[in-house]
Amino acid sequence: MPVDHRRIQGPECSEDYRKPKTLDAALLKKGSRRADGRKCGEQRKIFLKPGVVSQAKGSAYIELDHTKVICSVFDPREKASRNLEQQTVRGEIFCEFKFASFSGVQRRSHQQEADDKEYSLLLKNALEPAVCLHEFPNFQVDVQVLVLQDDGSSLAAAITCAGLALADAAVPMYDLPVGLSKAFSGDTEFFDPTGAEERMCLRGVDGESDHGVFTIGFLPTFNQVSQLFHSGHISSDRFGKMISEVGTLAAEVHKAVQAILLSAVKSSIDSSDNSKLLL
């Protein structure tokens, strides 16, 4: 990788003096409240706002307590076709997922690292079933997602945010995708985990055999799971339970996204009416 001369490079082997927060294993006791006071099945409060980036066709910003994600969607442009044989009747979504350099405790590279590229692909797989790709053949829609602050569930937040941004950009869609995540260790489950909870459940606590983190991309209207991403060590019956709950878990988020979209459309109609008066 060539040296970036626009930034002041620190010494090569420098590290942040802080370590990422870890969780007290005592919090795993069933029935106890989580570190931020939530119950195990409780979602964090969501703040969602569409139309935050004026230069983009559509955009959205989501805040899940300390997880902050911004998404911009740009006009369809002609596919950078690598292969002339691949002139298909479908359009494409090009997703670029990036954690900002300052989003975590350790500074990240300003270029995409391995997990940024992986998340880009997972996000694309989650969004594709929701978008009417046949409406823009041979064109690609760019979806740029930037995680400003990462405190767990960033992929799930990105799915919800990108769904709202695509709707804000008037990209034809079948449904509004919603992202959900769940982490668990042994019998304890954390819905919408924070960063510390995610890290703990990925590592696993000694003595608990089953542990892992799920991220689900869900299309509520059609009851379809567009992405089921999991990492950990669990038995298959956990999945069945998770899938049967996903409808109810997503309903709250889906209602919020719909309400916000509706109010955004209403306010844009109202403001255009006002501009007519000015004439």
Binding site: G204, N223, L228, S236, F239
Partner: protein
């Protein structure tokens, strides 16, 4: 995966066969194609394996390097996956064409091996906080014929079984300078890794109501959605992912059936792979040409 163009008639033919649990080559929906495995091909690597799944050909090599452990996990080694989609496989992989697929496959493999239960990274530590082994697992795709990730996961597990880590001892710790010494020939130069819990990834392709295991490239072109499941020998699931633009109905029965099939097939695959590796290590087949 490489694109195959099929006519409607061909797709219908495959669909009708699958409904009766018969596929184009006579297999049932939950059968794998014949698998060939070869260990220890690459001399310069610490371990290597080649897997041939019908016409999917994958070569995996493991090289060991001494590295500094990360500060978050000072008593653990590192595992690094790199997948190279060679232009030999299909002309679409020329230049940067195969990069996206390579990234996807490498990420999937890292996820499958992420937990301690799949691969215990603390066995790779040499000096806590200072030196550890880094296993660079390089996958070369020679031919693409469907079920790439299945072949890659089998190849990785076999290559890890073939890997011998040099025994290293620490000598001389005056003034903070440490020296590492390789063990003598007499003491046993190298030791094997603990690879027995490594997962195998199984791809399930959904065609109407049936789930196909090890789909050929033609069958993949007909299927609406796929589910990749990483299964370890003790019936646990290490990773799942839904690749491509398909989606599944959020019905727990559908998923339970799919995952139970995946676990079933995965455990059998793991058992068969272990048996084949043991046989290869004890019998030492006669040398053959490299791509024989």
């Amino acid at each position: 995966m490489a694109d195959i163009l099929l006519s409607e008639a061909e797709k219908t033919f495959i669909l009708h066969g699958v409904r009766d649990n018969v596929r184009n080559d006579g297999r049932s929906c939950s059968e794998f194609r014949p698998i060939e495995l070869e260990l220890g091909l690459v001399e310069n690597a610490n371990g290597s394996a080649r897997v041939r799944l019908a016409n999917t050909d994958v070569l995996v090599a493991v090289k060991c390097e001494i590295d500094n452990p990360s500060s978050n996990f000072p008593d653990e080694g590192k595992l690094d996956f790199f997948v190279d989609c060679s232009a030999n496989a299909t002309p679409q992989f020329e230049g940067k064409g195969g990069e996206q697929l390579a990234v996807e496959l490498a990420a999937l493999m890292s996820r499958a091996y992420q937990t301690r239960e799949s691969f215990n990274l603390s066995t790779l530590s040499i000096i806590k906080g200072m030196k550890c082994w880094k296993l660079c697992i390089d996958v070369l795709i020679l031919e693409c014929g469907g079920s790439l990730i299945d072949a890659i996961s089998m190849g990785t597990k076999a290559a890890l079984a073939d890997t011998k880590i040099p025994k290293v001892s620490v000598i001389g710790s005056d003034e903070g300078s440490l020296e590492l010494e390789l063990a003598d020939e007499a003491d046993g130069r190298e030791e094997p890794l603990d690879w027995h819990h490594a997962p195998c990834l199984v791809t399930l392709n959904k065609l109407e109501d049936s789930l196909l295991v090890d789909a050929s490239a033609e069958e993949e072109a007909c299927c609406a959605a796929a589910l990749i499941v990483g299964v370890s020998p003790n019936k646990k699931i290490t990773t799942t992912s839904i690749p491509g633009h398909g989606s599944f109905l959020a019905d727990s029965k559908v998923f339970t059936r799919a995952l139970n099939l995946a676990v079933d097939v995965g455990v059998k695959l793991n058992t068969a792979l272990e048996a084949a590796i043991k046989k290869h290590q004890t019998l030492k087949p006669p040398p053959r040409g490299f791509l024989d």
